[in-house]
């Protein structure tokens, strides 16, 4: 498959839609958690206001060129993930650049932004950013285990690593979804998702209470604007990925939004129910049930 310049505007459109969905969810979810906690919570459109505010702030400081580049890396990673993800099944317009890569690309591109961000924050010299990164990395090494196993199981099941082809293989009703055809892999994958969505019990990485400052504080204004852009895109990319490989993908935007929202709610719900783990606890947890499930998943293929 060759590169077609017309892909560019369509991909940008898809990206924008994903961004909007992300912005919406980022307003909606805090609202829900607040309500669960018997609080009123923010307005749903609050993220948009914040967004505008961030880009309007006049003062800006930098600690060095890596500090400057950190957010760029971050956002590039997030956007890249969306750009290589087929959003809508069967649609040439919203299949983006999925032909240039597969699940493996997606998996490793995830780290592109993380790494850049970590480095940028690192240059600020703030110890807490380094602590946060250390925690995140430690946790992700084990959270990836079930994810990788689930992916391998699915890829082996469908005889392909290509996300588009996996989606294609699941068409024709819910009975063809991986969720049904390979429930163990799906369960494994969903447990892995918990580890990367920065919700309780796995959010000690950010630890909003204990570490009230850190990257988002050192990064302010425009930098923060770039980062919040990413926070709307990056989780959505992940969610869409899960949707594509486990839940049959989406044939139109409505389904995408619905499924995306449902998947997004899974870690949120778990997060409000369960208390937070320390990093070493979460590592041990991932090495128990999710690991066993994952091994079962590949063993069953």
């Amino acid at each position: 498959m060759n590169f077609d310049p017309m892909k560019i505007p369509w991909s940008l459109l898809g990206l924008f839609i994903v961004f909007c969905i992300g912005m919406f969810i980022r307003g909606f979810v805090p609202k829900i958690t607040a309500r669960v906690g018997k609080r009123i919570g923010i307005r749903i459109y609050q993220p948009w206001f914040d967004y505008v505010k961030n880009f309007s702030i006049q003062t800006s400081i930098t600690h060095g060129y890596m500090f400057y580049l950190g957010p760029v890396f971050r956002l590039t990673g997030g956007i890249g993930m969306v750009l290589f993800m087929p959003l809508i099944h069967g649609s040439w317009y919203f299949s983006n650049f999925a032909f240039a890569g597969d699940m493996v690309l997606f998996l490793y591109l995830m780290f592109f932004g993380t790494l850049g961000m970590a480095l940028g924050a690192g240059e600020s010299g703030h110890p807490y950013s380094a602590i946060g990164v250390a925690r995140g990395l430690a946790q992700v090494t084990v959270a990836e285990i079930p994810l990788v196993l689930a992916m391998l199981a699915v890829a082996a099941q469908h005889h392909t690593l290509s996300i588009s082809q996996i989606v294609a293989a699941q068409q024709g009703g819910i009975a063809h979804w991986t969720m049904v055809t390979n429930p163990v892999a799906t369960a494994t994958g969903m447990l892995a998702l918990l580890g990367s969505m920065m919700n309780s019990p796995f959010n000690v990485v950010l630890a909003p209470q204990e570490i009230p400052i850190g990257p988002p504080t050192e990064y302010h204004g425009t930098f923060l604007g770039i980062l919040t852009t990413n926070r709307s895109i990056f989780p959505m990319a992940k969610i869409i990925f899960f949707m594509n490989i486990f839940f049959g993908g989406a044939t139109n935007w409505a389904i995408l939004i619905l499924k995306g929202w449902l998947i997004y709610m899974w870690p949120v719900i778990v997060g409000v129910v369960f208390p937070r783990f320390r990093v070493d606890q979460s590592i041990r947890w991932f090495l128990k049930v999710p690991l066993l499930l994952g091994i079962l998943a590949v063993a069953l293929v």
């Binding site: 003062t59 060129y65 690192g122 703030h126 250390a134 990395l137 990788v148």
Partner: protein
């Protein structure tokens, strides 16, 4: 031709006349003694040269004008000429060395020496068994006399024990002789040998006694306590004589008389010899006295040649070549070591570090030790090779195994000694005193080892002139060591370039060889270029570096197994000296050498099986071995895996590499480890994966690779030192490669090759830069750095790109490797091993982030505020490799295309399909230029956006951070770097428990305990030694002859 009997006449005439010459002064007497010995040597030499020039039979010289067998005859043949030459040369050198002692003790002492050497000549020349007994007695009594050149209690007891023991032994000998005469009616050895089958019945006790006596003269285990005490108690120069001249003569007696005992004698000699070799080397393990070690080693070596003689019928025409090469090496090296022990004047091996104060002597020490251990280019290398080939070809596996085991033991203590001498502090030790008399003999013998090696190789074949010629260049560099480093650097680069020019036509057209030749030679050039950053002389660096690269070159160039092994061993020596240069490298360099040695021995056995199977040592012998194939391939793999530092054999690496400086670290990690990969590829190509045993081996190998990757990466995450971190990381990376190869699939091998090359590049960058930083900052501990991005931006950029590559993050080339792995894992259903490999890849993020963050980011320390950027000499090669990384990232097909084509011949199935820049397998696809373009343009757009929106960004000071309203002032307090992954350690620290290290420690302890038990028999009491001798005779008598009466 000069009558050989004049050897005896000259010696005796001189000895007797010395009494009259007392008045003329001792110096003159000494000169006369030397002249006499030289004349004796000359006679032997001219006979030997005659034998070598004309293929003639040696004369039988009768005495007394009578005819054989009724008069005593002397025989001068090839062997006799050679052996007497050895003895007489040793006589000259030994006397020269003993100058001070001899002149101090007077003409009597010189006469004793002359008589002793005469006796040894007589032993060799005589054709009469009783005459032989007489000469033996002369030699032994003279030996006891020479021991007394220094009369302290030690030499007194040593001499006394020796006299008692040899008295007892020669009594047995005499008893045997007289009964032999009684049954055969002759004393002429030739007649006796003819008479043996006819007259002497099987199980003749007389011949048994003769045989026991000659075996006991070789100091067999355990009846050899007197021998060990003699070696350690005698003055150094005398021990040298005993070890070289006496032992050589005694060995000749064995050659001459063993046939008297019939076939059983050979069996006994083989068993006794090899047992002695293994046991005395084992016992020596717990020994700390240099002279005792030398004693054990001498006894062991002689045991080995005795054993080989016992087995010589199995070794065919090569038997004597093997014997001569081993005996010759022992002769030269052991004499040299004993001589050195006299110069050092301390028996404590740890005190030998004083020898470093005389670098030339130390070099000699090294030459002797490595020659003894059978490293190239010394004769014993060829001898040991032929020995193992021969034994294995004759299916004498247990014998070969025992010999290798004994060699390993010997290596343990010799290398411990050498390493400690090389590294231990010698500040407070006095410089060893050497005079012209004590200096020349070891020098001559060390130099002789080289032509001896070359000469031996002309008989074994296998190694061409290019195995030796470059060594001359390296020696030249060694002689020029007094020059400043940059001059030697230029010369070395020229040398490597010349060698590469020579190598190119040999590898052209062979992708496999091009890849490795490129890594080895390219690595050499880059490393040497980086070497320009050094000031001063950098003593000893260039010869050893070049030696290592020469070894690697020969490895690639090898057309047969022997060349391969030759290159491998050269590389081992060179790399050992490089790795042990670090400040605290002593234990690590030592364990590196031991693992290498063990690996080499295993490999040699494996090659032996290959040779036995194919009947040739061409590289094709590795294909489809059918003699014990599982063992053969496993041993070879184990051998090569000691260099790739795979799990179980990895414990040497972190320390050895972690203590090395920048350019050495680069060579050791980025280049050297690939030699193991080269070997594994060769072995696996030969093995294939069709046989059931092959599949089992591959399964194990795959798990080793995967677990190595995991353990290596987890280990790296917990290091505080950047260099140790990189070292552990190398272990992990090599684990991927081994895993890839073990899959025996197209994709697996593609990935392995890809990793081999890219690891060279990105790791090369990291080693050079991190090493350079450590050099600038003065420590490799990361938490002591921090914030260096401000001072070293170029370094940061290079490190950033290499860690992105290493981590496999798109769009750089490292991703290609990961992608291939995933495809392979899914298509081959290798989920479990694959999972471990993938997880270790993710674990790599831990240490990579730590590496770059703790060094470059965070807070800049006060003392580093003025630190300079890394030397351009290091940056330039690093950036050169960076360009390589970028090119490969953009166009991975330039690399993977040719590799794929090469692999398709071996693995036609599952190849990577290329469509333009799109690579695809049955499962996945990727198009690197598009990925690069998408990510690149996104990055550019976002960056521009940020620039636009953030024009007014102001650069702020270091401490301008939000810190609970406080202004931090001490960077140490806000730099998070120490014990970075504490939580991770808490959770998975059990993976980093050094179980393997503990295992090897316990092996070592066990061996030492065993050695301790063995040593308990050597009480130092002369009477116990007599017990051992009588017991030895009686025991062997009962075992072998008891049932025959």
């Amino acid at each position: 031709m000069i009558n050989p009997i004049l050897i005896i006449a000259i010696a005796l005439g001189t000895a007797f006349s010395l009494g009259l010459l007392k008045k003329l002064g001792r110096e003159l007497s000494f000169a006369i003694t030397l002249i006499a010995l030289a004349a004796m040597a000359f006679i032997s030499a001219q006979w030997l040269s005659a034998f070598l020039t004309y293929n003639m039979l040696g004369p039988v010289v009768t005495t007394a004008g009578g005819r054989a067998p009724f008069v005593i005859v002397l025989q001068m043949g090839h062997m006799e000429a050679l052996f007497t030459l050895l003895i007489n040369v040793m006589g000259v050198m030994g006397a020269f060395y003993l100058h001070d002692r001899l002149t101090e003790n007077g003409n009597g002492a010189m006469a004793v020496l002359l008589a002793g050497i005469m006796g040894l000549n007589g032993i060799i020349l005589t054709g009469d068994i009783f005459n032989l007994f007489v000469f033996l007695e002369i030699a032994s009594i003279a030996t006891a006399g020479l021991v007394l050149l220094v009369t302290d209690f030690k030499s007194l007891t040593a001499g006394f024990k020796y006299m008692l023991a040899s008295g007892l032994i020669s009594g047995l000998f005499l008893l045997g002789i007289i009964f032999l005469y009684n049954t055969t009616g002759t004393l002429n050895i030739r007649e006796l040998l003819i008479a043996v089958p006819g007259t002497i019945k099987a199980g003749s006790v007389a011949s048994f006694l003769v045989m026991m006596a000659i075996l006991l003269e070789m100091k067999p285990f355990p009846a050899n306590g007197w021998g060990i005490d003699l070696y350690s108690g005698a003055p150094a120069g005398v021990s040298a004589l005993i070890a070289s001249a006496s032992a050589t003569a005694a060995y000749f007696v064995l050659i001459k008389l063993l046939p008297l005992g019939g076939t059983v004698a050979y069996k006994i000699a083989a068993a006794v010899g090899i047992t002695t070799f293994v046991a005395s080397n084992l016992v020596a393990l717990s020994q700390r006295s240099a002279t005792k070690l030398l004693g054990y080693s001498s006894i062991g070596q002689m045991g080995l040649v005795v054993g080989i003689y016992g087995l010589n019928y199995h070794l065919g025409s090569k038997a004597f070549l093997i014997i001569f090469s081993l005996l010759g090496t022992h002769y030269l090296a052991k004499a040299g070591l004993f001589w050195l022990s006299g110069i050092v004047q301390s028996t404590e091996i740890d005190k030998w570090s004083a020898l470093r104060k005389s670098p030339v002597l130390f070099v000699l020490f090294g030459i002797f030790v490595f020659a003894l251990m059978g490293f190239p280019p010394f004769p014993s290398f060829f001898g040991k090779w032929e020995l193992i080939m021969g034994l294995v070809a004759s299916k004498l596996y247990w014998w070969a195994g025992a010999i290798l085991l004994g060699t390993m033991f010997e290596g343990i203590y010799l290398f411990r000694w050498f390493s400690r001498a090389l590294k231990l502090d010698n500040q407070e030790l006095a410089k060893p005193r050497s005079t012209i008399y004590t200096f020349v003999p070891p020098l001559v013998f060390a130099i002789l080892l080289f032509p001896a090696g070359y000469y031996t190789s002309t008989y074994t074949g296998g190694i061409g002139i290019m195995g030796f010629a470059p060594l001359l260049f390296i020696m030249l560099i060694g002689f020029l060591d007094f020059l400043p480093a940059y001059i030697k650097n230029i010369l070395s680069i020229a040398g490597v370039a010349a060698y590469s020019w020579y190598l190119w036509p040999h590898v052209q057209g062979n992708t496999f060889k091009i890849v490795f030749a490129g890594i080895f030679m390219g690595g050499a050039l880059l490393a040497l270029f980086a070497g320009f950053y050094r000031r001063g002389k950098h003593l000893g660096f260039y010869p050893t570096t070049l030696l290592m690269f020469l070894g690697l070159g020969i490895l690639v160039d090898a057309s047969n197994l022997m060349e391969l092994f030759y290159g491998w061993e050269l590389m081992t020596i060179g790399s050992y000296f490089l790795l042990i240069r670090g400040e605290r490298s002593l234990p690590h360099g030592y364990s590196y050498l031991l693992f290498s040695l063990g690996g080499s021995l295993a490999m040699m056995f494996g090659f032996g099986l290959a040779h036995a199977s194919a009947g040739t040592i061409e590289l094709s012998a590795l294909n489809h071995i059918h003699v014990l194939p599982a063992l053969a391939y496993s041993l070879m793999l184990v051998g090569f895996m000691t260099k790739t530092a795979s799990l179980g054999f990895h414990i040497w690496l972190p320390g050895a590499h972690g203590e090395a400086v920048a350019d050495i670290h680069f060579m050791a990690s980025a280049v050297l480890l690939k030699a193991g990969v080269f070997g594994i590829i060769l072995v696996l190509s030969g093995m294939g994966n069709s046989e059931p045993y092959a599949r089992n081996i591959l399964l194990v190998l795959g798990w080793i690779g995967a677990l190595t990757a995991l353990i290596g990466n987890i280990g790296a995450a917990f290091q505080e030192s950047a260099k140790y971190l990189l070292a552990w990381s190398s272990i992990g990376q090599l684990g991927y490669i081994v895993f890839g190869l073990a899959t025996m699939t197209h994709l697996g091998w593609l990935a392995a090759y890809g990793y081999t090359i890219t690891h060279f590049l990105y790791k090369g960058i990291l080693f050079l830069i991190i090493g350079g930083i450590a050099f600038r900052v003065g420590t490799a501990d990361m938490y002591k750095m921090g914030g260096l991005i401000k001072r070293m931006p170029f370094s940061f950029l290079a490190v950033l790109i290499s860690i992105i590559t290493l981590a496999g993050i798109p769009p750089l080339v490292g991703f290609t490797g990961k992608w291939i792995f995933y495809n392979m894992i899914v298509s081959e259903h290798m989920f479990y091993q694959g999972l471990v490999v993938i997880i270790s890849g993710i674990v790599a993020f831990l240490y990579l982030f730590r590496l770059i963050h703790v060094i470059f980011l965070g807070q800049l320390k006060d003392k580093n505020r003025r630190v300079k950027e890394v030397y351009p000499w290091l940056l330039i090669p690093a950036y050169a490799m960076l360009i390589g990384v970028m090119v490969l990232s953009m166009f991975p097909n330039t690399l993977l295309g040719p590799l794929g084509r090469m692999l398709s011949t071996a693995f036609p199935k599952g190849a990577l399909h290329w469509d333009g820049y799109t690579a695809s397998t049955a499962y996945g696809t990727f198009n690197m230029p598009i990925i690069m373009a998408v990510i690149g343009s996104t990055f550019a757009v976002v960056f521009l956006w940020l620039l636009l929106a953030n024009r007014r960004a102001v650069k702020v000071k270091q401490f301008n951070i939000f810190y609970s309203g406080e202004a931090p002032s001490r960077p140490e307090l806000t730099h998070f770097g120490y014990n970075f992954f504490a939580h991770y350690k808490k959770a998975v620290g059990f993976m980093a428990v050094p179980l393997v290290t503990r295992f090897w420690d316990q092996v070592s302890e066990g061996l030492h305990a065993l050695a301790g038990y063995g040593r308990a028999i050597y009480t130092g009491n002369a009477q116990s030694y007599l017990f051992h001798i009588v017991g030895f005779v009686v025991a062997i008598y009962l075992i072998t002859m008891g049932g025959l009466s």
